[in-house]
Amino acid sequence: MSVIDEVVRHFGRLPGVGPKTATRLVHHLMKSPPEEGRRLARSILALVERIRPCSTCGNFSESERCAICSDPERDRSVICVVETAVDVRSIDGSGQFRGLYHVLGGRLSPLDGVGPEDLRVDELVQRIRGSEGEVREVILATNPSVEGEATAVYLEELVRSIGPRVTRLARGIPVGSDLEYVDHSTLAEALSGRREM
């Protein structure tokens, strides 16, 4: 396989990129100064080699602990639980939330064979227990899908039994939508209007 074909194939595997777009991207790179391609290659390399899950919250991180967990300005009494690290970006982008996060790494789905043991549920429990009462509220920000709701119901019982109050994002986020695609102002509203479960 030629180099061109190979790059087209790699681009074409990215979400939202079809073979046509992949070909256009490759043509663009070939017409650009070589430095542009090198910069792209270097940043992709840095991404895959340096980014790893934060050992505390599971967020994308360039070091052992992510920027949010290491920020002394953050409110350590509130943890916002999300399905994926992409959701951290969405919620933090809304500017409404100044607490910490916990990334589950998915949602409960027996159909896909995903149980609590496959998610970072134990880590959440350890974290709350380890804080010795500092964590006073857990916001469940799983997606408003059937699976996201069931996951929230599961965590609610679990978290409440070890201390903190549990809240859920206010309604207003369209049912079945991914937080990833919800705009910032809607997310900010849902956060400020969160309710006790």
Binding site: L108, S109, P110, G115, P116, V146, E149, A150, Y154
Partner: protein, 387 residues
Amino acid sequence: MRLSRLGVVGFRNLRDATMAVPLEGVAILGANAQGKTNLLEAIHYLEIFRSFRGVPDRQLVRFGEEGFRVSADLAPETPTGGEEEGTHDHGEAAKDSVAVVFRRDGGSKRVTLGGQPVERLADAIGSVGSVLFTPDDVRLVSDGPAERRRYLDILLSLNVSGYLDALQRFRHGLSQRNSALREGRPEREVRIWDEAIIGPGAQVMWTRAVWIRDRAQAFRSYYREISGGESARIHYAPGISGTAEWADRSAAAEDFRRSLRRTADRERSTGATVVGPQRDELRFFAESPHRSRDVRAYGSGGERRTAALALRLLEADTVRVGRGTEPILLLDDVFGELDEGRAGRVLELLERSVPGQVLITAPRESDLRLRREVLPRWFLRDGEVTV
């Protein structure tokens, strides 16, 4: 709605043709296997976008063809319901149209409404408003309960807004919950799916219950008329404990929740959710002064056919109310199976209660015990219609 023009290309044994359909309806005569049922199947395909005989789309394509196309122009009811002045000019009468193109290669199905492609098939389903009667309808009564639930689901999805959505959400939640049970997950990992099935499940049961409750009287009178004075009732038995005498949807939800709690042990050993609308049953009881018999189990052939016909008539009522238009009746050789008395009374009933367009097939003129002598005749031979 009335069908003013029908076009078929590549569909089963039917000759490619465009036909002007008389607005009052037509009687289609032809020997067996000439294509009468195929013609009605093509028309009803525009209502449900699949074969009413449950045949895969590929098998509807005529041998050697790439695919098929079925199209129709639709004319609205005239408000007076009387003589349709000038509407026989089919080109002008067609206010609306629906068409479907299926390609064997890739199995793609493209639907247009008024010439515009529809994004989701669901947006086009039910736009013709046809109600089909076939000799197989007796199976609605004699087959297992799943057949009747499927029937209700199609009917209510087409006519009650929100039903299909609730049904899909219920099924989704149920498959998650059953999967958790099947895998023997701990109880609290099962219970977290309860609300996912209770809300939409209660909506499904409530909608079914209301539909049957509101039509119980009509069923009784249709049955009496067709049978010539016999009595029978339709009954909805929800798949949870208790009867469907709920005051509202939340009462249904409460009963559902209570039943779930009670069956926790049983579902654990079964490995599946044992209560809910997936266990609903629709039953028919023939009544005499001293006793009541389940028609499915103990009814005669005539009683079963009568119950099935009454059910189809309720369907026609539902189309009329739900879509605000007179249904198009498609009668596929339904009188061959009935005794003379019943057949005559069904026709009387249809003429009186369903004044819309009617397309009716029969093997011979003599089988067409039709009082609507005015209906034009089509003759179908080897897939070709001659007027």
